[in-house]
Symmetry: C2
Subunit: 131 residues, 2 copies
């Protein structure tokens, strides 16, 4: 069985992760047989290795890692491969496979374009407060 890890950046504010928790629950509802965990590059737990240990504990010998990043900068080009190597060393019997970054997917870009064009906008969504 292939497990799934949603690899995200992380932030100090725990509210930052809410959309990813919704996404994880959405994936679990659509594919209840696939173990799915969120892993954070920094600022939050679990990290990639711990998430992989948790997914492998469900019996997955193959883990698909999905980088939920828009663009491919230093985090994906440098930090991620290092963290993946650490996870692989910790779990030598697990086969890790990696997708493109989410922002490279045509379906995701199409949804973003629709969102950008059609989402309602208000002045009150953020509080405008000069420093």
């Amino acid at each position: 069985m292939t497990g799934l890890i949603l690899f995200v950046h992380g932030a100090r504010d725990p509210r930052w992760a809410v959309p990813f928790e919704r996404l994880r629950d959405l994936i679990a509802a659509r594919s209840p047989d696939i173990p799915v965990e969120i892993a954070f590059l920094e600022h939050a737990k679990p990290d990639l290795t711990q998430a992989a240990i948790d997914v492998a504990a469900t019996g997955s010998r193959r883990i698909k890692v999905v980088p939920l990043f828009f663009g491919r900068g230093g985090h994906l080009r440098e930090d991620f491969p290092r963290q993946l190597a650490v996870a692989q060393a910790r779990l030598p019997d697990v086969e890790f496979a990696v997708t493109d970054a989410a922002g490279e997917d045509d379906g995701v870009l199409d949804a973003l374009a629709t969102f950008a064009l059609e989402a309602p906008a208000t002045r009150t969504t953020v509080e405008v407060k000069p420093k």
Copy 2:
């Protein structure tokens, strides 16, 4: 006419912005009458004020700002309102309106779930290189 600003994080690696450039072009193709610019929170140019100046120069008196962030952490809760206040002060006659963060949109989350479940994954997408 309402103009559009895609507000993104930014990164030192210019390749990071490629998906956003594709998204801007996709939006321009779908809605050629809407002026659309990318604005960077940090690490790249233009910033929000300069992008707003560019959009306003096309004749837009209303600018819809779309935060292309997944989650709502310190960048959106603190940095963005400050930068928006600076842009508003520079362009007092322009009405700024703000959407939710992209990651809060059901359509975007649905596309991300499909991507996570269906995207092909390979071991060769990233080079695994221990530090």
